[in-house]
Symmetry: C2
Subunit: 669 residues, 2 copies
């Protein structure tokens, strides 16, 4: 069962690990990514990108100034989009994301929002004439657009956006205006310097009446000179925790006029004389949000897996301390505490990845149903995707930090790639819906479901069906080895159901005592807990069901260990919920803890092979600690040579400050 | 009870909060920092630093390149040390840290290790002649030194350091050599570019025998030219997650010779002919380590408090969403979920700060006892300081990230200061002893104590005395309002005792089944849990005891709410431990959850006043979100103007890449 990553000259410790693996990593990779052809396409795309120097960084971005980084991605994105025909662009979830990740590393670029928000918004909200006018221009990159909705003082609550678009029937124009500082558009990617167009969301006023927020296509910079147009104030919002190749921007309007035709009019319309025509049917944009979130879940799973890959490979070659005296320093992967830090993250990465594929499939199913006018599944899937995004982004971020910390000092260096991965991943907790807001969104659905169940008229899809089942008194756990998939699901269903109805009862009580709204606020911690319990049940079930489909025993065995570790770890980290009402006994909880230790021991020999299965090339990983060959130390020294500070032997600080200080002090002694 | 921070022109929302506070923030600050005079000295030091432009940044460091940051701190540190007579340098814990923080923000500088490691090592390890030769030169800053111990391949385990110092009796010199890449000294602060000297720890060889690691004073750069000396290879290790003003460095020796007199010979000696004289008594350096950790605990408490201060002030002025429809957007601080994110961090900040003072006092007590030859308390305090460092650094880091996330998108901008605070604080999990290593160090002490208790011959100081108490069957909890300090301590003692003896039993069993060493490894997760439970008990007790000394009821009341929130939060986050064996009942656990919600409500009106009490001036906080005046939005817009990318209206990316791409595309349509 030789691992194809083994090569001559590799660090012997990592080769030893690969030789110890009990399964074929290509087979595991194929199971993970959905088939051999997918793996083969990955290899082809990788080779292609490696073969085109235009798509590479001239030197590691870690050593670039912000200006250099911004310039580097602008150069690369033009090349990337020139070469885009090499991939199947209809498969953004698979090929698109992989291609972009290989070229852009973990950063954004001037066209990030152009293709993900600007183009789709025009497609979705433009009427036919507008599509004719704009689509080919936008698709061909004849202009660069972004999506400007969030304002300096307004995020989640769109109703309160302050930017106004007032219709002037005399000139048949909208006047865009930013009445306050808080109304400045703030955060849109590529708005600061790169874009010359934006879809701007503003409060529409016609005939003296506010008609609520609507989208407008707005030119912000001159096509020839790229200077901001008169009435426009635009710029970069400054450096951030991560994403520093991106020019997230601000935008202020001073009575800036655009033609009437620039309002996107597929749904609402404003006629020449200013008459407002309200939309006939509400917009069904849920589907796109579900798709975007399936992308995010996959992204986060990948980030976490990259971090675990780096940490486990490094832990295999790092030797430190002795367990048995005189036996020499051990691989730090042999320490139980190190395994306990890393292996649950490995389990999580698999669980999240399988959930990403599952959500993508659900999205496709829902999209099909939608074309037939069937919207039954939509609210449930939409709620689920909100909760999943919230739970996964947070757990991935925490897991990445655990991996970094497990690598000691070297984890803190940019050479490890952890800081890059963390700052990118953790941003996911905030964008595309702040996590707490999303958990509460999911809770609204769960409370409606609970209400229906209590009323005896629930019509729930498979995901929430457990809410209709009768309560259980006891866990089905007898021993770790006999704890079947069905038993585990049964137990997690119990915990989720209990918390959903607990939150429901708390909510009802508070609503009786206060008001519907204040009652919601006072129940909100319980509501978030309910959403989390629901999502965790979903993740456990999806993980178990997916692993059960693995035909080959050699890959099913380590995956099963991962499912157990995942479930046992979830149980012990929310042990209070499981012990309550005697659902599990003290003795059972002790056995589950023991079960974790046994899972760690069983996974230990396959740890490197499991991360190898994710098929991360060094070109993608960009991590000195996570190198395939395990030859970390010479590479760290080489990386350090590139430091900005090493360009000169003696820094100006010596002549200017430190030298005179020392000289003067010595002269006085 | 007017808050002195209220000023005309402030954001009305923050003024409203300050008017609602029920206590005098100066009185609270005095209780926190240990007296009115301390607060007055803080004000004097602040005014002094504000009055000296040399000590300021020319513009926010957020907008500087790494080279500019390095130069900026070199300039400031010379000025800072020139002005050091303004403060009482014997009070590093108080005045020294405050003075340095005001000037250096959250970063290191070229003399960070010079004063904290280089000078103290010479003082502690040098014999009298060496003190005469070096001390005044070092103290006067005639040279800049650092401390080079950690190597590229070797951190915690000093025994395995690879750098050699071989004595050559012919020339009466030591030959320093780096035999491998992994032997490169790696990480020491200011080693890369600033220092011209270092204390280097190397394996001493004399007369063909290795005598273990010893410290040597080594010149690495020429005093006049600052060029590295022949046989020395030195440089910066490259950019990091944080600390990017610091030139952490690497150092390699190629048979580099230093005089025999440069070995620090207070304990071990090498005579002219190469005879090695072993130390007469072991080195008692525990005391210094305890002091360094008390500093770290205070630092971490301050970081966490800064983060909470920023998040709470911002949450008071940020309005978003409605609770009651039509009542207007609410301050986000009114959301229960926001309170639940922030207030437990506020409680933690107070708990950690009180623990820092307590540990400093213990250190002083132990130091006194040491001068009388009494070492009784030392092992216990040393163990405690290890565990405290581990628990506090991790919880502070997590808390800071919670604060950042609670501020949404703006928390992600460097303008918030959160990224700066987080990357600095979280590094504390790794330096000065990696956290897991430290938890296990503390566990060694606890296992010895448990062994003694089981053997009936324990002689433990107050901190561990609870281990000798009989087990309790039930919690003393009756209701949240009746849960006295003594009851809470009783219950946390029970949990800690149970886990310590559980770990002890697991350890014994594994040792019987395997070996002493492998048994330790297999019990190590349980051992870490025991250390954490012990530290949490210590933190709860210290917090309660300190608050009980508050004489004024107006400050004792909100502090008592914080102690309850702290304890209840700890109970619910490790609910499994409390529910086990029926120590608390399900009904009690529900009441404790309710107790948390009530604490949040009670603390809400005092939230801003509580963070105001920490006496963080805007000059210290460097946070646009956390401004005293609450006028965040105009300041964010102003801050963004300084972005590197806003220096020119049109970036070169347009001419070079994006412009031609768009033009070409448009020409083809």
């Amino acid at each position: 069962m030789k691992n194809p990553l083994i090569k001559p000259g590799d660090n012997p410790d990592i080769t030893k690990e690969r030789l110890a693996g009990t399964f074929d990593i290509r087979q595991m990779g194929s199971f993970l990514y959905g088939g051999d052809e997918v793996l083969q396409r990955r290899t082809k795309i990788l080779e292609f990108v490696k073969s085109i120097p235009e798509l590479h960084d001239p030197f590691p971005v870690d050593f670039m100034t912000r200006e250099e980084r911004v310039e580097n991605v602008a150069r690369k994105v033009v090349a990337m989009t020139n070469y885009v025909d090499f991939i199947d662009t209809s498969d953004f979830f698979g090929e698109g994301m992989y291609f972009q990740r290989l070229i852009m590393r973990r950063d954004l670029h001037p066209l990030s929002l152009h293709f993900v928000m600007f183009l789709p918004t025009i497609q979705g909200q433009g009427e036919d004439d507008q599509l004719d006018e704009w689509l080919s221009l936008v698709a061909a990159r004849g202009i660069i657009g972004t999506y400007a909705q969030t304002e300096l003082g307004h995020g989640t609550n769109l109703k309160n956006l302050e930017t106004t678009a007032t219709y002037d029937p005399k000139t048949e124009e909208f006047v865009l205006h930013s009445p306050t500082i808080t109304s400045a558009k703030w955060w849109p990617g590529a708005l600061g310097k790169s874009s010359n167009y934006a879809v701007v969301v503003a409060q529409l006023y016609t005939q003296g009446v506010c008609r609520g927020p609507h989208p407008f296509i707005v030119q912000i910079r001159d096509l020839e000179t790229h200077k901001p147009l008169k009435g426009i104030r635009v710029g970069d919002i400054g450096p951030k925790f991560g994403f520093n190749s991106a020019d997230n921007g601000f935008l202020l309007f001073d009575n800036y006029r655009i033609p009437r035709q620039n309002m996107l009019m597929r749904y609402s319309k404003v006629e020449k004389n200013g008459t407002f025509i309200a939309p006939k049917h509400s917009k069904l944009s849920y589907g796109t949000m579900v798709f975007v979130r399936s992308i995010m879940v996959k992204d986060q799973a990948t980030f976490l897996a990259e971090a675990v890959c780096i940490a486990i490979r490094y832990s295999a070659i790092r030797r430190q301390g002795e367990i048995e005296p005189g036996a020499g320093e051990v691989q730090i992967l042999d320490y139980q505490t190190q395994q306990f830090r890393l292996f649950p993250q490995l389990a999580r990465a698999f669980a999240f990845m399988f959930a990403a594929y599952e959500i993508r499939d659900l999205h496709m199913k829902v999209s099909e149903q939608l074309t037939e006018g069937n919207v039954d599944l939509l609210p449930e899937i939409h709620a689920l995707s909100s909760g999943l995004k919230a739970v996964i982004t947070w757990e991935a971020a925490q897991g990445i930090e655990q991996c970094r910390l497990a690598c000691g000092g070297h984890g803190y260096s940019l050479a490890s790639a952890f800081p890059d991965i963390y700052t990118f991943a953790v941003a996911g907790c905030t964008y595309e819906g702040e996590n707490i807001v999303l958990l509460l969104q999911m809770a609204r659905f769960l409370m409606k479901a609970a209400e229906e169940v209590r009323g005896g008229k629930a019509r729930l899809a498979a995901i929430c069906e457990y809410l209709t089942k009768p309560n259980s008194l006891h866990s089905r756990f007898t021993s770790c080895s006999d704890y079947s998939d069905a038993d585990i699901i049964h137990d997690f269903e119990h915990i989720a159901r209990k918390q959903v109805f607990r939150a429901y009862d708390v909510l009802k009580r508070h609503r009786r005592e206060t008001s519907a709204e204040e009652g919601w606020n006072r129940a909100s911690i319980e509501l978030c807990k309910a959403s989390r319990a629901h999502v965790r049940l979903y993740l456990v079930r999806t993980f178990l069901e997916k692993v059960a489909t693995a035909k080959d025993a050699s890959i099913r065995a380590p995956l099963t260990d991962l499912t157990r570790l995942y479930a046992f770890d979830l149980i012990t980290t929310s042990l209070g919920e499981f012990l309550k009402d005697g659902f599990i006994s003290d003795a059972q909880s002790d056995e589950i803890r023991q079960g974790i230790y046994r899972c760690l021991q069983r996974l230990r020999p396959n740890a490197v092979s499991l991360v190898d299965s994710w098929d991360f090339d060094d070109f993608e990983l960009h991590s000195v600690l996570g190198r395939r060959d395990g030859n970390v130390y010479p590479a760290l020294l080489e990386w350090a040579q590139m430091s900005q500070l090493n360009k000169t032997e003696v820094l100006p600080t010596f002549e200017k400050y430190l030298g005179p200080m020392m000289k003067e002090s010595r002269s006085k002694l």
